[in-house]
Every structure is written in C-alpha cells, then in structure tokens.
Symmetry: C2
Amino acid sequence: MSRVPTALWKNLIAVQVYGANTGVGKTVFSTLLGSHFSRKIAKTKWDLRYIKPVSTGPIDEADDGYFSRYTGANADTLFQFKKAVSPHVAARDSGRIPSDNDIVQKLYSKLSEIATRRCSQENSIGLAIVETAGGVLSPGPSGVPQADLFRPLRMPVVLVGDHRLGGIASTISATESLILRGYDIAGVVCFDDKGKYENSNYLRNYFEEREIAAFEIPWIPDLSDCTTETEIEKMRAYYLEESDSDGLHNIAGQLIDQHATRLENLSKMAKKTSESIWHPFTQHKNRKSSDEILVFDSAYGDYFQTKHTAQSNGGSKGNTNNAILYPAFDGSASWWTQGLGHGNPKLALAAAYAAGRYGHVMFAGATNEPAVALAQRLLQGLENPRLARCFYTDDGSTAAEVGIKMALRASCKRYGWDGSSTEVGILGLKGSYHGDTIGAMDASEPCTYNKKVDWYRGRGHWFDFPTVKMRQGQWIVEPSAGMEQVFGETSRYRTLDDVFEFEKRRQNPRYREYITEQLNTLVKEQGKAFGALVMEPIILGAGGMLFVDPLFQRTFVEIVREYDFVESTAHPKDPKAWSGLPVVFDEVFTGLYRLGRFSSASFLETHPDISIHAKLLTGGLLPLSATLASESIFEAFLSNEVADALLHGHSYTAHPIGCHVGNVSLKAMEELSHSYAWQDYLKDWQGEVASTFDQPHVETPKKTTKKCIWSMWSQRTANEISYHPLVDHVIAIGSVLVVSLKDDHGSGYTSKAALGLRDALLRDRIGQNIHIHSRVLGNTIYLMASMTSAPSDLATIESAFMDQLKAMVDGS
Amino acid sequence: MSRVPTALWKNLIAVQVYGANTGVGKTVFSTLLGSHFSRKIAKTKWDLRYIKPVSTGPIDEADDGYFSRYTGANADTLFQFKKAVSPHVAARDSGRIPSDNDIVQKLYSKLSEIATRRCSQENSIGLAIVETAGGVLSPGPSGVPQADLFRPLRMPVVLVGDHRLGGIASTISATESLILRGYDIAGVVCFDDKGKYENSNYLRNYFEEREIAAFEIPWIPDLSDCTTETEIEKMRAYYLEESDSDGLHNIAGQLIDQHATRLENLSKMAKKTSESIWHPFTQHKNRKSSDEILVFDSAYGDYFQTKHTAQSNGGSKGNTNNAILYPAFDGSASWWTQGLGHGNPKLALAAAYAAGRYGHVMFAGATNEPAVALAQRLLQGLENPRLARCFYTDDGSTAAEVGIKMALRASCKRYGWDGSSTEVGILGLKGSYHGDTIGAMDASEPCTYNKKVDWYRGRGHWFDFPTVKMRQGQWIVEPSAGMEQVFGETSRYRTLDDVFEFEKRRQNPRYREYITEQLNTLVKEQGKAFGALVMEPIILGAGGMLFVDPLFQRTFVEIVREYDFVESTAHPKDPKAWSGLPVVFDEVFTGLYRLGRFSSASFLETHPDISIHAKLLTGGLLPLSATLASESIFEAFLSNEVADALLHGHSYTAHPIGCHVGNVSLKAMEELSHSYAWQDYLKDWQGEVASTFDQPHVETPKKTTKKCIWSMWSQRTANEISYHPLVDHVIAIGSVLVVSLKDDHGSGYTSKAALGLRDALLRDRIGQNIHIHSRVLGNTIYLMASMTSAPSDLATIESAFMDQLKAMVDGS
C-alpha cells in the first residue's frame, strides 16, 4: 500500500485541502482558489483540476459540480456514496468499501495523468486541488482516518480553519494531527468573520510564531434569503471579486513558492550534502558525483520516497511525466533498525507523549516510568533467569562497551587480575563485530573496519566456526575454509529445524575437542588471560551475514563455563552466577524479533550473563540501547568505594522518549508475533518438506517440532535463489534474507561481486517499476523486512529480486 | 510559573474535563459525573467539588450554578468574564487579564484546600471536577491555549468527544493535542447519538486499539419544546436516571482505578527501579534504601515533579495535605542537557513531525533534509572558517571518539606513523574528560573515572594550567597547586572581561615558555609521538568545573600549531589546514549557548580543526551529536581504498528526529539570545563594577568592551556567595553557576563536602517550600539554568540557595 510515489511533479502542484472540521468552507475555499488560478490561465498557462477522492451525499449536490460551475474547470469525484454521512458509514451502507490502496492508487493515477498531459505542453503548469471529506481525521471508507489514508502521497496541505466558536482549538489540533503525520502545511486559511470570534486573527498570529503561513479569507456572503438562482449569482460575484483578494493572492503565492522551494531543495540537497556531510562508512573518493547520494524526501511503511536522478529512471516506465519521487523498498531496514514501518503515526505520537510529559529527565539517582517499564519488559521478554539488571546507553556500540566493561571487571575481580597491567582479552568468533567505538572495536579481530583505526588494539582470540547455509535447495553446515580436518566435512540437513536439533547432533565431539584444545593452548600453554566470551548469537551481521552453526556457539558457551581459566578457582554453585567467564551476547542485530523471536539467544537454548540490545529496541525510530546483566555481574561492582562503581553514563541515559517508544514498539511487535501473517510465515516454512526441489543427501528424518525456524521470506524463493548460478548460498531466517554471490576474487568486505545486483535493484534495470534499496557486505547482498511488512508486498519484492537476479545472467 | 506541584493528592481525585470542541456537552457530562459520585457519598464518603477556572458569559447562566443545581455539591468559578466569547477576547475586553500563573496557582490553591479538608477526615476521598472552557486548545485569558496553560498541574483528563458530524476527526485530534502535551487521558466519553453519526461507536473502537479508555454516555434529552421549568425537571430526571448508567459507571470506575494505579506506580517505582535498574555513575552499595531514588512523575519547564518521601517534606510546609508530588528545580539541567525546558510542546511537535515524515532513514549513501540543514546551521553558527564537514553520531562520547579517530589518522598520515605499532598519544589538560567509551577515556589522564576500567590505557600527556575563579568578590587567575614557580603568583582582575583581554595580558611569556619546554621534553627528549591536541574550551566539566585560564588554552593552541612534532615536516601554507597537530575542541558541555554563546571556542578567539557537539544540540530532548571537521582533516581519509575511509557509523546516524529537533532548538536558542531577558543578564554583568563589595587589588582599569562575559545568575549573588566562609570560590558564566566548597580532606571527585548542601537544597531543610535538585562533583556544587528560565524564577532559586548555604553555617 505504501508503494506509491509521493504526489510531486515538476509541472503540477497537487495540493490537498483539509478542513479543521466539517462545514468550515473547504469547498468554498477550493473554489476561491480555483477561481484565482483560472483567472491566471490566460496569462501564465495555468491549468486547473479539482478532485474529490471520496464524496458522500446526493450527486447533484456534490462538490465537483459546484467547483466546475464557478471555475469552468474540470472536476472529478473518484468514489461517490449516496448517504450524507461520514464516508465509513456511507461506504459500509452502500455495500462496497474500496480499500485504502484502491483510493490512493486511483488518486495517484488521476494526478499522474494530469501531470503527463501537462508534460506535453511546454511552459505549462497545472494545479490539482484535492479536497478531502469532513475533518483531517474523519474516517475514509475503510475507517482509516483520512490523513493516514492519504499519507503515502504526502501532498502539501491547505487547512481550512474553523471560523466558529471553538474553532481556534479545533484548527490548531487539526494542524497538529497533520504535522505528527509528517505533512507539510502550505498554509492555514480561515474565513474572516469581521470581529465576531476573531479566530482568523488569533490563528494568524499563533501560526506565524510557529512558522506556518496563515491567511485570512474573505467572508462568505449571507445567502439566507437567496433563491437558488440569486444564490448562484451572489456566489459568482463573490468568487469573481474575492478570488484576487489579498488572502487568496497570498495563499496562491505560498503554494507556488512552496512547490518551487521543495523542488529546489530536493534538487540541491545532494550537492549540499556532498559539500557539508561526512558520511558514515564511506570512502568519499569513490563518489564520482553528488548524484550518487540518494535524496529522501520522506519515508512511509517500508518505502523511502527517493528523488529521481538520470540513473534511477533509466529502466523505469514510471517516470514519463517528470515525477520527482519514486518509492524504494528499504531493503536494509535502514541499517537493520526498522521494525514497524517508517512514518508510523503511533510511534510518532508515543515519542510526542514522552516529550510532552518529560522531555528528558536525569536518570542518575532518579527514575521515570518508561525507563523502569522497559527494563522490566526486557527482563521478562528475554526469559533468561540469569538477567536481573538493565543499564541504558545510546547505541549498540556503547552498549557493547558497557557489556565488556562489566564482564572484564567481574572476571578481573574474581581472578585477581589488575586490568591496567595484565592484558585481559576476550574470546569470540572470527568475523564478529560489536560497534565502532574503540573499546567495542578492540573486541573484534583485526579486519578492514579497524585496521586504519590508530588506537585499535585487538584484545583477545577469535575462533573459527562452521556456518549454516542453503545451497541448491539444501541446508548445510559447512566448515570454514581449511578447517575440514577439524570440523569434519560439510553435513546436510533436511530442514533448517534439523540444524537446531542439538540433542540429536551432540554425538559429534569435534567442537568440544577443538574448543578445549584451543583454550588449553591459549590459557595453559601461552598463559593468556581472558575476561569474557563475547558473541553475536546466530548471525554475525557486519562480518558478512555469517550464520554460525548454533551447535558450535552452544558448545562454546558450555565449555567456557566449565573451563578453569585460573587454576584452583572454584566455580560458583549458584546456577545463576557466571562461571568460567562471563558470557556476553550481542543481540544488537539479531534480537528483538529481527530473527522472529524476542531473543536470538533462545535459538541456542542458552542463557548469557550479559545481553546487549539496540536497533529494534525503539522499533526503528531513534537511538537507545540496553545492556542487561545478571546479579552476579552487578555484585562485582559493589564496594565501599565510589571508584569501584560502573562509572559510565551518557547524558541522555534512559531518555523517556526512547524508553516509551521502546515499550510501545516491543508491545506492538509482540502482538504482531501472534498475527495471521506470522502464522502464515511459520506454516510456509513448516511445509518446507513439500519442496519440489531435489534433496538427495538428507539423512535426518523430519519430525514435528515446536521450534520451527521460519522466515518472512518464502521458502520457495529462498530455495529458488539458492539454485541460481551466480549464487553461492542463501540464508533466510526471521525478517532476514541473505544472498551470497560467488566471487572468484574473494568474498571479503572489499568484494565488488554484489554491487551490480544492488545497482540493478535500485535503478530498476529491467524496468518493472519496482525499486529496491539494498546494502551489500562484500559479495553478500541482503534484504530485511519490517515486522509490519505486508506478505503480498514481500512477495512482490521477492519476485522483483528474482527477476533482476535472472537478468544478471541473461545480461552477462 | 512551572513551580507549582502537579495536582495529585492521596485522597482527592482532581480530574480535568476537556471538550473536543465547544458545545459537545462538557457541563452535562461533568454534571452526570458529579451526580454519579454524589450518589456514592452516602456509601463511601465521596466528597464532590466542581471548579470552573475560567468562565465567560452571563453569571446567571454559568456552569457552576448549573452543576450545583443538579448535584447539590459546591461549585466555584475562579475567573468570570461577562462576554460570551473565547476567554482571550472576553478577558481583553474586560480590561483585566489574569496571568497564566495566577490562574494555575489559584486553581492549585483551591484544590489543595479541598485536599486539606479531606485529609482531616479519615477514609474520605474527594472528587474535584475541573471544567475547561471551549476546546482543548481554546485560548485562555492570556491567549495561551488551555492545554498549555494547565499543563503544570497535569491532571488526568476526561475528554468529552464531539458527537456531531465531523466529530470523529475533532475528537481524535483533540486527544492527540493532549497526548503530545504529556497528559494522561483517563477516558474519552462521547454521547451516544443512537445511530445518527455513530461517532461514539467509532471512537470506542479507535481508542480501544490505542489503549485509551473510551465510553458511551447516554444521549441528552430533547429540550426543544421545554420551558425553563420543564427543562429543569427533565434534566433532573436525566441525571437521576443516567448517572448510574454503564458509561458513567465505567468512566467513574476508570477515574478511581487510574488514580489508584498512578499512586501505586509512584509508590512502587523506586523499589522496582532499585530491583531492575543499574544506574549510571552510581555506587549501588552506598544506597541505603530505595527511597533515595528520586521518582519523577513528569517534568515541566525547569522543574521535575518529584514524589514526596518521608525525607523530602521534613522541613517543608508544602505537604500538610498528602500531596504526592513537589516541584524540584532541575539544577543540573539533567546532566547539562536542558536548554528549552522540560515538556516543551514545540519540541514535542517537532519530534513528532520528523517521526511522521521519516521515522528514521538510512544515512550512509543517502541524505535527508533535517540532517543537511543541521549540518549547515552548525557550520554557520560556529563561525569557524576551518570547519567544512559534519559527521553525526549519538552522544558526546561517540562524537569524541570520532574526533580522535579523525585527528590521529590525519597526523599519522602526515607524519608517516603506523598507529598500530607506534603509540600515538594526545595532548590535553589535567582533569579533562571526553566521555565514557574506552577510546574517549583513553584521551584523559588516569583518574577516578577510569582507574577501574580494565581496558583503559591513558594515551597522551596532560598539562597543568591556572584556573579562573571568583574569591571574595574578586576574579583571580590562580596557578594549580605547586605551580606558582612556573605560572607566577595569583593575578587579580577587576572583571571577568579583563581575564579575556588577551592582547593586554600577552606580555607575560610564562605560558609560552612552559608549554614549549614541556613539548621539547616530551617530543625531542623522550621521542614521544602525539597526534592531537584535545581540549574542552573554558570549563572542564566532569573534571570538577574547572575554569581554565583562557589565555593558557589560547597559547597552547598557538604553540602546538607552530611546533615541529616531526622534524623537517613543513607546515602547510593553507591557513585553513591543520598545522603542528589537529586541534580538537570538545564543546559537548560548553557549547551551544551553555556559556551564553553558540560556540565556546569563540571565547578563545581561536578556531579548532575539529569541533565536538552534543547535549544541547537537541535542546535537551534526545541523544544526537556532531563532530565537525576541516576539509584538511577530511582529505586525510580520501584514497582509492575503502579501508582508508572513516569506517564509523551508528545505526541511527543523523536520525531525522534528532536533526529536526536540533534545527528547531538551535533556532529557538538563537532567538532567545536576542531576548530582553538575555540583554538584562548582560547589563547586570556589565554593571559589575558598581558592586558594593570591596575589591582592593584591582589594577586593570575598566574599559567598555563588546565582549562582555555574563551569566544568567546575578553578579550580586555570585559575589555574595564568594564571601561565604564555607566557600572556596565561585564561577558564573552563561547558564552555569559553580560553587566550590572548602574541604580540608581534599577536593577531588570523592570529596563529600558538598553533599550536605545538596541534600539540604533538595529536602528544603529550612522549610521555604523551594526544592532544588543539584549534582555535585566532589567539593563542587553547581546550578544550571535553561535558556528559557524566567529571570524572576532564577532570582528565587538564587535566594533559596543563599539561604540554605547560610543555614549550613548557622547549623554547624
């Protein structure tokens, strides 16, 4: 539904007229505005159209006819319902309820048609007045408030204020409802009642202070004694006389100026960005032109509204009419953050509530309701009996630093190390990544990301591990290159579920032996000190979307917890206390429903001592992170000395906006996890056995298990892609689809194998009018859905992805 | 104005009835609700009051009389205006306009009086129905919308929905306006029109989905054919019959439950916090009871609404009636973040707009309007011709890490060092602090904050410096302990301005000699490598609010820029290029108007190569930070290799909410900087020479200078405090007032000298009914104002501070 372009064209101003209430004079204003522009036609080639998307009441009294009568311009009603009540009641009673998507698409098509006609006439510009029904949030036919229904088109709004008693309040509130849905307000207009209630005067001042243009519109003539004919005559005179009055002149000028400014801003934004912004993770020398910078006008649902460039519409059929914007699927979930869709009005309102109730309030020595509620929600949701305490920071990297500080202090204290003189390292996996601050970087092995960071000092040891992948329709567990001797040959599984059958797979002692031997070498032979085991459960994200064999991670935890890192130090008896080393799970990417479950640790059926969360924590709205720890970790910081405390704390620690949005988001995602859509995803993956693809080497028999691993991406598509000749392997789990391409020149971060596909997807190379924005990690390209993505929309994206992938072979 | 407690008492439910519009039946609903509760009086000792704070129209038609007639309960109108128009027009025309503060205080007093009466009766509970005029945002007498006017009292709201055509829209919008002002909605009620427009039905479903209670209220009888008498009879029957109908029963139950829940949440929050939260910068073992945790119900303006504890009202006269909350001045500006007041509706709406327009959108390879606008605003505002690029991160610590990474890479590249093998340090000042992540910590000398951080490795050298302070009414520049030989004896200045007269003070070559000698020893003799000069301009915050002699900082920069850190490497000729070492200014605390100016570097009249900003960047709402760099720094990262780029980037980089709120905040603060209040502060400090205090050692003559250094805290108070026997010295600059107490046991972070004063201020030890929340840094206590603080309010706080300080001597 949100895959419709924003209604913005070079030579068509499409403006939406909303009313602060019903009966405030929307149609009179629209007609005044129309009259104003129709007069201009002769001089400056203005072309005029009026559209009423949804109208209720008798057709002969409809607003389109009224508009045409006085302006002579064409007017259309897209959906007409006879009963003169709210559209949702009228539509229901009529027995035919058009979907929101129908309405938005039909309106866009109509506007697009007008823009196309304009396009053929040189130096001509059009004005389309789109008049809504009732107030800003009056329900449309489906019952969804109009301002939500039309949001994907994000047209500039003229709000007709309410001139009546009480109208100041309703006008401001209506404006606020539009603003919190991300609308730009071209102007608020209000009929000047010549001193009766003075609303127009008040509103002009009020909005001026808030930089919203507001204008007074000439009062409507008294028609109380008129016959139909004298009424028409009187109104004709009114429109003739007043359509060029100051108020009209000003709002018209404002519409023209704002349109021009919006176009200019959009056209200059890439250049301004290129001149003033230092982009994250970007080699700026590789940028050949500022046109490479994607300009986002806005975003809604799973789609960015992106500015067309010469490149973007190369293959697209969608831009024959100078459309400025196109929707692009946010395939990286904006760096793995999105869960509930862009421009989500519930989250916007939640953020506003906490801002209005608190702003930010001090957290040290204090507390606020959203922060405590979120801590408790996390502790409950993680279902990890070890975890007891929540420490808030701002992002995944700071949360990782806190987790590392916690773990190191606990182990240094127990084992009697002085961290300032002893080099205490961490144990981890090759390819792990925990953030960009130096402490978080130090917890990863040397790699492209950190090798030019002058203060980077990798502190620890990182283990090889086998990975899980689907290759040619087959789930396999494959040893890393050169490790076949250690881990054994590639093993094959009927389903992904079978990979997680730990008890069944346990016979193989290779992991246990390998890890123990490695530890013996490091600790007993080389005398190294380690203070924590730090891992991302299931998938190493930044490391290239590596799906770690869960049995390996599980075994690693078990052995570390049994291992004597310092001889003759007894392991604690409390089953909730950390043992061996504190186990730190970095769930920043994998947690909070990214892989379909609240906690990615749950896949491993093991409980870390410290758990790190960020990204989806706010549903994708704003930065916040949490590091949860066990009481046994917490106790390591208790002492009579202030200096022994965890002396860490950012200014905005536990900011109420983030925490409240976090509570609202987690609750929403929890509800989604019980939705029909999610049940269908699960069913799709449970039916994997019914695949038509050949699966020759399956030995493990399929059995019914509760812990089905599933994805929002269909198993059919995953299967199909995995057979593609350019594809090395595929991973699909939760909202994540990973496609790893073959690259003869190596598969690391610097591989360029996936760039061609990425560009083809974005630029719609084969012209199917679907644009997909994606990110690559070396030879790997991935897609991520939101928790709210519509299954039908994902099917469309999958199909477009397949088509582009196929075209790559055909074209190569 | 915001120093009024939130209207919450144990045994009085004070509920505010708002209307979705005028004419929706607020008074009928209030009377129904009153009737419902008045019936209950007999059984459960419900006492009932009705208050109309502001009423317009003839007195004999006023709502209070109506309410009393049907309920028999007392009813009051606080401010009555004759003309039947909006209160702002009626008040203006009446010639007497009560201030918002008058209205709020009078209403609070009235409610407090009722609560006090209730208090004396065991097991009795009161209901006060406060009915507003018109719609939610109808202007009050001063013109301020009612929902803003009454916000400090933050009463639970019952919103009477609009049952008329268009009423769905106005009801939802009105609700949203309340929510974004931080109100809790007890319920939305709507008269059931029995199927005409079905608003009540729609609204019930709509709000249920959003977890807002919504109820249908029985339709009002048709009174069209009634005489005055039959109307009264009919309505009496209506109230009698319908006041116990389901809708009323439910909304009444909801009010009672919500009140109980709010009290329970508040009473349990400290314990829950104590059980689940790991607080920042806190030695939890020092916490004797969870009662020590301050529970904030909300915040508004400069005040927290804090839960009373046994301790808090020990000396206070303010809590004789079981008031639950008291306002406490946010004296640390919530860890130095606040600039525009808590619960600021403009910022809440700005946050909501960006959330509605974008949510968060990907920034790598892309751009959005708020992010570019903020970058340009910062680059312009800093007025530093060197700076050209903006890199966004999430907090001061991450921004410092980025600044350090930038500087080190630039210097390592120019000087040919391999940072992974060469130990490249930074130059700085003793007591500096740049954040809690390990890279930022490594840029500070060993101290309490980092000594137990196992991975901390101080990398650099930190210089001694003289400090500026006011002692006994005299501004002095004092060498650090033991450095008198090097820096010379304490020098005295007539005014703070004179300390900044760099040209005049330049004769003394001691700083230049000292710094050069130190560098020679470190670089030439010891062969150490340094990659950056990193300093907080003017005040070292976390280091204990040390006011560095600005001449020392300026000289340090000059020398570093001339110095040959590697022999025979020529300094660049481009005046904007970095020279010697990149100069990094950490303005996280001191910048963006905290000290009264956009940039604290401007006090030094010098231009860093890298400038770090956070905290006030969003006016105090949510985390965002920016590291600005020169083109010459940026160029050090350009190469054909991706690995040479600055591979740093947090998930929410340049999140549109933060950037948009940043733009709105910086603009608001810029406007305030031209306000009368700020001009008055300036005048106050220009008149410092007129002080009545003895200033014996002044040698520098006073001259008129444009660059007057001033504070929002009065020079009279600063002076007076500086003479206090317990006080070592005072600093006042911009919004900051620092009071350093004498401590015979040392002055570091672990000093306890200031704790007594801090506790006395919060607990209102001397019972003046003013509570001040403050933070201490060892022996130093400080207060910070917001940019929007009312001068009269600051005067009250100053006076309360002085009184508590005086009482400490009297009491000791």
